[in-house]
């Protein structure tokens, strides 16, 4: 058959590689700053843009979508062309994909720093950016499928299955979780409320880990590891099982982020069962990766890229062993809301994603530039510094998480809580310091890598025109007599896409359909009323400042939590919460029952200088809330949006909203004045106090009423 000559597009791969390197540093710097702020609140610099609540989303988004995102595209664009023996479908689409993705990242960084956020973890970006993400993601898919259709290799190698599964599932997750009602150009409310919002959000959140941080990287593993080791993957059969089992099981596991919360018990159990089962495909994949090196371990000794790959795959194994463990209710009640979870994700992020990306970069850059790596020695130093960095990062906060939880749960013999919340915070500080040193080491290693790669690029010669040749695919495919149905999927990308979608949609549908039926079945707790306009503004400030990054609003039904915070949280309390603000980390105390706990003046002073009210506090100062005037211009739009979401404000209430708001604000200003604090009623702090004083109080009113009736 006639050989066709074609050229690979190396330029786009190069651009994505540069972007990966650049954003890795940005993301890690944001992470380091956030880590330092946990023991040095002054590092928040007393300005809104650099406060923890905004820096933390910048860090998570930069690492997930900028660093790992560009890493995915770098690897996909390189491997896809070679696995299919075809140039990328369209240079134009590649260009739009690359620059579109960078634009999204820049917009994300700017808007998050400015406080434009939806308040849903890892999906913080506001609706215009969500739409942009959808468009660019479709461009990526279009480019990928175009390439697949023009391929010269009949069989789709397993790495491509992972890419296809990633594409379709991320599209589904992103669209479903991002359904929101715009209020203004940079403000929207989640379509879902309370329990439903939580279920959708963690279905998304968990699968962002699964289908953004895991499946595409497994695809990269299945391509680059055999390439580096120069031997085929240990078992291709196992990789097929790995793929189907992993995507089928992963999609169900989300509710394990909500154990012991007000979500339905069946959903929690479903999450636990599937999380436990996940260990099988995950370890199957890890073993498949490590055994690929059987008989070739000597190559690991003097190939630094392979070293990174081995640690990456091992970290994948550790994280996927720990994941099911943390999903068990007995373990989760200790680990959840503590730094244990942070340690767990960083074994995955630093070990699996970070090291695999580094390995691929060390292998790829010399090839793209037709030269040898500038310094093997430096790369080896990077390997050891980064490994040490991971250990120094993870071990202290594993310990911190476990100890903090134990201290929370400790009672004296008399039956009193043994420790104040603040005692546990003070205890953690040294561990936070150690953790940030680990992070600093890891960052140092990454900088060394970039220096090394820049020097490599300087001595090299970019391989812009890389030619290859392969026979065209025969138009008519003659199936073997004994051909099997799965082979039909293997050579047909669209079938693969559809079957993948069915497999991942099942879990989503089964988790949601009942959860959405719940809505009509939730007997609304009568005393739970919609937020007043002022409280709504206050809540939006709470979301804007990212308070949920450190404070939970979920009292779990444990003895210690009920003793510390009050009545445990009920599903019916959150029906007007668009979005829900349960949080996932309790760096500060839970706020689900904070309403009415302290006088207004306490909150005023606490926001101005937290340590004046709570000595030893690591909460940053929020002086701007006291100075800034509340933007009340969109009050009517906000009430209208809430009404469209089904919040039962009376008809025409939006016209009275401003009047009501003024009344409530004046009342709070008067109460502050009584305690000697002069403030204008139109300041942001007044709205925030209104919200804080409201949280969790509706159900208390109910209790006192029913007691009075007795």
């Amino acid at each position: 058959m006639e050989l066709q000559k074609f050229q690979y597009d190396n330029k786009t791969v190069k651009l994505f590689a540069y972007a990966t390197m650049f954003w890795s540093i940005v993301g890690m710097l944001a992470g380091l700053l956030a880590a330092i702020q946990l023991y040095l609140p002054e590092a928040n610099f007393n300005i809104p843009f650099t406060t923890f609540g905004r820096v933390r989303p910048v860090h998570t988004n930069a690492i997930i979508f900028a660093f790992v995102g560009n890493g995915i595209f770098m690897g996909v664009y390189y491997s896809l062309q070679r696995l299919l023996k075809a140039r990328m479908f369209s240079d134009f689409l590649s260009k739009i994909h690359f620059w579109g993705w960078q634009l999204i990242i820049v917009l994300a960084a700017i808007t998050l720093v400015l406080g434009y956020t939806t308040g849903k973890e890892y999906a913080e970006l506001e609706w215009p950016i969500d739409i942009l993400i959808t468009i660019v993601w479709v461009v990526f898919g279009w480019n990928m499928f175009g390439t697949i259709i023009r391929r010269r290799e009949r069989h789709l190698y397993v790495a491509i299955w992972f890419y296809i599964g990633t594409f379709i599932t991320v599209a589904m997750l992103h669209i479903v979780n991002s359904i929101e009602i715009p209020v203004t150009f940079w403000k929207s409310y989640s379509w879902y409320a309370g329990v439903q919002d939580a279920l959708v959000q963690w279905w998304y959140g968990h699968n962002a880990v699964a289908f953004f941080l895991t499946t595409p990287y497994l695809g990269l593993m299945y391509y680059f590891l055999p390439k580096m080791a120069q031997r085929p993957v240990y078992s291709y059969r196992l990789s097929i099982i790995h793929f189907w089992a992993l995507i089928f099981l992963y999609i169900w596991a989300g509710p394990h982020h909500l154990l012991y919360t007000s979500t339905p018990d069946w959903a929690q159990s479903l999450g636990v069962v599937f999380s436990v089962m996940l260990i099988a495909p995950s370890w199957g994949g890890m073993i498949n990766g490590l055994l690929t090196l059987r008989g070739a371990w000597d190559r690991v000794r003097d190939n630094v890229a392979l070293k990174f790959m081995v640690v990456a795959i091992t970290a994948y194994g550790m994280a996927t062993f720990e994941g099911p463990l943390l999903s068990l209710k007995a373990v989760n009640k200790i680990s959840h809301f503590t730094d244990w979870t942070i340690a767990h994700v960083h074994v995955g992020a630093l070990g699996w994603n970070g090291f695999l990306t580094f390995g691929v970069l060390y292998w790829l850059i010399p090839r793209l530039f037709q030269t040898k790596l500038y310094s093997e020695k430096m790369a080896n130093q990077h390997f050891w510094i980064a490994t040490l960095g991971i250990v120094l990062y993870a071990v202290p906060i594993y310990w911190a998480g476990f100890m903090q939880s134990s201290m929370w749960k400790d009672f004296t013999e008399e039956g009193q809580l043994k420790y104040q919340f603040m005692d546990t915070v003070t205890y953690l500080k040294p561990f936070y310091i150690a953790r940030s040193i680990g992070g600093l080491l890891y960052l140092t290693g990454a900088i060394m890598m970039i220096v090394n790669l820049i020097k490599t690029i300087k001595i090299g010669n970019f391989h812009e025109v890389e030619t290859d040749s392969a026979p065209a695919l025969a138009k008519e495919y003659k199936a073997h007599a004994t051909d099997h149905w799965h082979r039909w999927i293997e050579r047909k990308p669209i079938q693969m896409l559809i079957v993948s979608l069915i497999v991942v949609a099942i879990g989503g549908i089964i988790e949601f359909v009942p959860a959405f039926l719940v809505k009509s079945n939730i007997p609304t707790i009568q005393s739970v009323k919609p937020y007043t306009p002022l409280e709504l503004h206050g809540r939006d400030i709470y979301v804007r400042e990212g308070c949920y990054t450190c404070h939970t609003q979920m009292v779990r039904p444990f003895r210690d939590e009920v003793a510390r915070y009050g009545e445990y949280s009920k599903a019916g309390e959150f029906v007007y919460d668009h979005p829900f603000q349960w949080g996932s980390k309790r760096t500060g105390p839970d706020l689900a029952r904070v309403g009415g706990k302290y006088p207004d003046s306490w909150h005023f002073n606490h926001m101005y200088e937290p340590s004046s009210m709570a000595p030893g506090s690591i909460m940053p100062r929020y002086p701007w809330l006291i100075e800034d005037q509340l933007n009340a211009t969109n009050t009517i739009a906000k009430i209208k949006a809430m009404k469209r979401l089904g919040v039962p404000y009376p008809d025409g209430y939006e016209n009275n909203a401003l009047k009501d708001m003024e009344k409530q604000a004046n009342k709070i200003a008067a109460s502050l004045k009584k305690d000697g604090i002069e403030t204008l009623p139109d300041r942001e702090i007044v709205a925030l106090i209104a919200y804080l004083q409201r949280i969790g109080k509706d159900i208390k009113a109910n209790n006192s009423k029913s007691q009075a009736n007795k």
Partner: protein, 66 residues
Amino acid sequence: MKFINYLESITGIGIYPLIGLVIFVLFFTAVSIYLIKGSKYHFDEVSRIPLDLKENVENANNKIID
């Protein structure tokens, strides 16, 4: 305030996980049969797709691979 488990009141809720389980079992039985009965030659062949032999020879000659 009474707090009841609302979800018990959705009739026929049990069918969803059951459908899921049936699809899961059927699909994975089918994949397993395919993997057990599939030809070893096919799997060996496709697992070599990433390893472009020509490239390896070239690389061995100019020693790009370390």
